[in-house]
């Protein structure tokens, strides 16, 4: 009986979601705050891809990214009353998703700099060894989709703290100072993390090209 009621409620919810499709984000938020939770469901559908990708790039695991994305939307709902509806919803939910994923990384102790062996390049600058060498795999033909997959794989192969700075700089366009504040790092660390992360990405992409 409970399953039947839940299924009926979900179907009714789907019909209601279709009617929300033409409404602007701020209208959906107003309806959600007035008790129409299904209006918030439409907001979830609009921004779940964005939130999922932020979580995936940071967490490096698809299932974990889904859980984190869900958690981000639940937290956003709890804070919806404090959201300024004159501002766009996307960046706001993006920040919540980022903080949720970073908190997850910190709880697992993955957001700190790991102890790794370092090497020097010809210029005497030190960097960590790159991710595994996939060049021994069977011949790879790079189409646009595979190039995208290669870049995605390169990002996921980075250590978590490097993924975090790459995410905040290149995907959320945050300044070095904002990254330092978000991650609780000195500005000098942000610069060196970005430098090393980009070097690792370059080496990985060249090795697997």
């Amino acid at each position: 009986m409970g399953t039947l009621l839940a299924r009926r409620a979900l179907c009714r919810g789907t019909t209601r979601m279709d009617s929300w499709a033409g409404q602007a984000d701020d209208q959906l938020i107003t309806h959600a705050l007035n008790g129409r939770a299904d209006a918030y469901g439409e907001l979830v559908r609009r921004y779940q891809a964005l939130v999922y990708n932020i979580a995936y790039r940071l967490a490096g695991d698809r299932q974990e990214a889904l859980d984190l994305a869900q958690e981000a939307f639940v937290r956003a709902y709890a804070a919806l009353g404090s959201f300024d509806r004159a501002r766009p919803f996307g960046p706001w939910i993006g920040r919540i998703a980022t903080n949720t994923a970073l908190n997850w990384l910190q709880r697992r102790g993955l957001a700190t700099v790991p102890l790794v062996e370092t090497h020097s390049d010809a210029g005497g600058e030190q960097y960590e060894p790159g991710p595994p060498d996939y060049s021994a795999e069977p011949e790879r033909v790079y189409l646009a989709g595979e190039q995208q997959a290669a870049v995605r794989a390169a990002i996921l192969a980075l250590p978590p703290h490097y993924r975090a700075v790459i995410e905040l700089r290149h995907f959320q366009d945050r300044s070095y100072e904002e990254i330092a504040e978000a991650l609780g790092l000195p500005l000098s660390d942000v610069k060196s993390h970005l430098f090393r992360a980009r070097r690792l990405l370059r080496e990985w992409l060249e090795r697997n090209a």
Partner: protein, 192 residues
């Protein structure tokens, strides 16, 4: 020839060099093929990141999220004007109570009040504070001469009307008698 360090090229591409350093790097790049090649290779990394398409999400999260927020969504939303309306209602009620005036006080008979510790209400105490009370009574008496805009409705009836409207409004906004005032929504019905 000294070449630009990888770190400098990185900051140059990310627009993080101060103007003099940027100008110096720009001038060097104009004449150094090796550094330009290094810069182009780094630019490819930036471009690869900036053109990365988002990955499609494998499931629709909306149903799961709605299920989790259902207990929160079922609670009535607090409206910001509730407090203001409550203050207005209380103020109107108090004004009307003043307008009606207090019941007449039998000053001479106060000493006959039956209260524990009757000695506290001694005639001396009453004589000391009675003038202040009398001033309040005189003020209220002056208020009672204000014209009643709707003469058909007595002041006492206005008071009852405002109190009754307040109770109905509070109940309608689930601030009173909330246990008897449930609304039906899909999240409540979805619970087993």
């Amino acid at each position: 020839m000294n070449h630009l360090s990888s770190n400098t090229l990185d900051l140059y591409l990310d627009d993080r060099l101060d103007p003099p350093a940027r100008a110096a790097a720009h001038a060097h790049l104009a004449g150094c093929e090796r550094c330009r090649a290094e810069l182009d290779a780094l630019r490819e990394v930036f471009l690869a990141l900036e053109t990365l398409e988002p990955e499609p999400i494998p499931v629709d999260l909306s149903a799961r999220v709605l299920e989790r927020i259902a207990p929160v969504a079922a609670r009535p939303a607090r409206r910001p004007y509730v407090a203001a309306l409550l203050v207005v209602q209380v103020a109107l009620t108090l004004l009307l109570a003043l307008w009606l005036g207090p019941p007449p006080i039998d000053w001479a008979g106060l000493d006959r009040l039956v209260v524990p510790g009757q000695a506290v209400l001694s005639p001396v105490w009453l004589a000391a504070y009675a003038p202040d009370f009398q001033a309040v009574i005189d003020l209220v008496g002056r208020l009672r001469v204000l014209p009643n805009p709707l003469a058909a409705i007595a002041p006492e009836q206005w008071l009852y009307l405002i109190v009754a409207a307040g109770i109905i409004w509070l109940a309608g906004n689930r601030l009173l008698l909330a246990g008897l005032n449930r609304s039906h929504d899909m999240h409540q019905e979805a619970r087993p």
